[in-house]
């Protein structure tokens, strides 16, 4: 894997985010809101909150493979091992008194003054936040989103817009400030720019050879998740975009000798990112694009209509849609990135991010004429993942790609 030099700027950007949260927690320099990863973060920033994203924290626990120690602590409190392992990892870490944020000088996760969810992803985020709300006796508010949408209708957008508007009085009370709508418009503008820049970065992978892979994306998406709506995120993505465009110009491949290209649907397996990345590289296979990394692209955001466009952006997301628009979306990505096959991750504790359970892999394989592979695993709970089985399945899948189109006949421009 050819390392991206932007990683140094990424560390600095993410470090700035965590240090700001640490300052707010210690010195009470700003109120702190917890927000779900595709929640109404622009509203929170416009009101002056420092925003913490526990899903990002949980992913850090998964990547560090410390989740395995934390989850049983929460299971023992009556939370099932079948529910979101982000939830059980994060709360378990809290109860254990440990956090990877210690590397940024924080003694623990920054305590929230308010927790704000959007159930457009799943119900688990609300249950997760309510645990902390009870613990700290702080408000837990949010958007109860419609789901499995074939089309995003005006009524759907109206309903979510009203719910977001309904959050404002509570947030103003917690923040001790009135919402400045011009400030909100500026934040939405910055958030949209972040979305556009991140999309431009990801789209460079449409080039052969791809200058970055899904595995790079899962790391470099950090600012798009936790800092969208800020200039620091946008500054970072300008750096990353410049490097990726330079790679495209020079023909630099993320996977030297790229022979095959894949699309990844579903959550990352955080504790096996490096192992899987190395395995695909061994097979000269670039996982060029993914639903997951694309999920922080919000083309609907519009500074002229901040709240309403936030509602539309939250509803148009892949995860909120029914099978047909999801399939159309993947079909479009398969064409855009010119991939040879699709890997679906069936994430045991995240059914809403597992698109394997209602026949989609087979429908797409039949319609698109490319093979699909289902990997059983989990986002954080490695007990649900078998290294041996995954290797056997991936090895067989690449062999199948080789049968269909031998590497020697492929156009390799690296």
């Amino acid at each position: 894997m050819t390392a991206l030099t932007s990683t140094a700027a990424l560390r600095e950007t993410m470090g700035g985010h965590f240090h700001a949260l640490g300052d707010a927690a210690v010195h009470k320099s700003a109120p702190i809101a917890w927000c779900t990863s595709v929640g109404p973060t622009e509203l929170l920033r416009a009101l002056g909150f420092e925003v913490f994203f526990p899903e990002n924290h949980a992913a850090m626990l998964g990547a560090a493979r410390t989740s395995q120690r934390y989850m049983p602590v929460v299971h023992a409190q009556g939370y099932s091992p079948d529910i979101c392992s982000y939830l059980t990892s994060d709360i378990g870490a809290y109860l254990t008194g440990e956090t990877p944020l210690e590397a940024y000088g924080l003694s623990g996760v920054p305590q929230a003054d308010v927790l704000v969810f959007n159930t457009n992803q799943c119900r688990d985020v609300r249950d997760w936040f309510e645990w902390y709300g009870r613990r700290w006796n702080v408000p837990v508010i949010g958007v109860r989103s419609p789901r499995a949408l074939e089309h995003v209708t005006t009524d759907d957008v109206d309903g979510v817009t009203k719910q977001i508007e309904g959050l404002i009085p509570v947030l103003e009370a917690v923040a001790g400030a009135r919402l400045d709508h011009r400030r909100l418009s500026d934040v939405v503008r910055a958030s949209r720019e972040c979305s556009d820049l991140w999309e431009a970065c990801l789209r460079t992978a449409a080039h052969r050879p791809a200058p970055l892979t899904f595995f790079d994306g899962t790391v470099h998406m950090g600012p798009a998740v936790v800092l969208r709506g800020t200039e620091s995120a946008n500054a970072y993505y300008r750096i990353l975009r410049a490097e990726l465009e330079a790679r495209v110009g020079a023909g630099t491949a993320a996977i030297p000798g790229e022979a095959y290209r894949l699309y990844w649907d579903g959550m990352p397996i955080w504790g096996r990112l490096r192992a899987l990345s190395t395995l695909f590289e061994e097979f000269r296979t670039a996982v060029a694009a993914s639903t997951y990394c694309n999920s922080w692209i919000f083309p609907a955001l519009d500074p002229a209509e901040p709240l309403r466009s936030m509602a539309r952006a939250a509803l148009e997301l892949f995860i909120v849609r029914s099978e047909q628009p999801k399939e159309r979306y993947i079909e479009e990505m398969v064409a855009r990135y010119d991939v040879d096959g699709i890997v679906f991750h069936d994430c045991r504790t995240c059914p809403n991010n597992s698109n394997t359970r209602y026949g989609m892999p087979r429908r797409l394989a039949d319609r698109l004429g490319i093979p699909t592979l289902v990997l059983d695993g989990d986002v954080n709970d490695l007990r649900c993942f078998s290294d041996e089985q995954a290797r056997t399945n991936i090895e067989g899948f690449v062999e199948q790609l080789a049968d269909a189109r031998p590497a020697a006949t492929r156009r390799v421009t690296a």
Binding site: A259, Y260, E282, F283, R284, T285, D346, R362, A365, P371, T372, V374, D376, C384, F385, S386, E388, Q389, T392, N393, E395, G396, F397, V398, E399, Q400, L401, A402, D403, P406, A407, A408
Partner: protein
Amino acid sequence: MTDGTRVIAAGVDAGTECLKAVIVSADGQVLGRAVVASRGHFEACAHEVLAAALDDAQRDAGSLAGIGATGFAMNCVTKATLTSTDAACHALGAFHHLRHAMTLVEIGGRDPHVITVDDAGRRADARSVRKCAAGVGSFLMFTARHLDVSATGLQDLAAAGERPARVSSYCSVFSTTEVLERLREGARREEIALGAMYSIAERIVEMGPLDAPLHVCGGVAEFFPGVLTALSTLTGQPVRAVPEPILTGALGAALKVLEAVGVAGEAQSVEAVR
């Protein structure tokens, strides 16, 4: 293209329960075959099973054009000139016998696979069971122990069972506990043996789709035909074993060697992309 008239090749399928070896002639005729229990000594067993197959074929190792290896411990077949995945080898081996596209269910000692084989003998798709041992041949070995019969005796018991006792857990450990529960409740051993066969078949059905024609290979098909009967009952379609089902993977690995040396087509092993 090599002069194929005198070429012979070997295939070794190094599975979790057994190692299997096959010697084939250039036209794909099986000249020799052998099966040994793995006993956890994969390298030694690979040597042993290959020697036994050569002995059965009345040939020596020097006459081999190559050795193909597949299976769980394929990397322990130190003399292998080629490795290929279970799915590809079982697909090729089954196709060699049957000569048509099919859904192939491979049930060995570890996770079973449902393989879609195209009309050229290639795997078009392959799915494995979710992370759980309830669908594997080893589960039948545990069950036989609880019923106090040999592994092959389990099939004889099942054949005498009229109705399967319910053994339905997703987990093999819980399933073996269920076997004890059924015994405590007074179920006949024959019914429980048949229930264990149905338990395997249920896990396979969950891996679907299982489009016709449906064939089964692997050690379970060799020793436990009751599983095929159960699979046929559950799917409502005929289920047939591939000839010499325990040898299908080894045969496919040997055929891969023939492809590689140019006797039977071009090599398409995973090695090609490494």
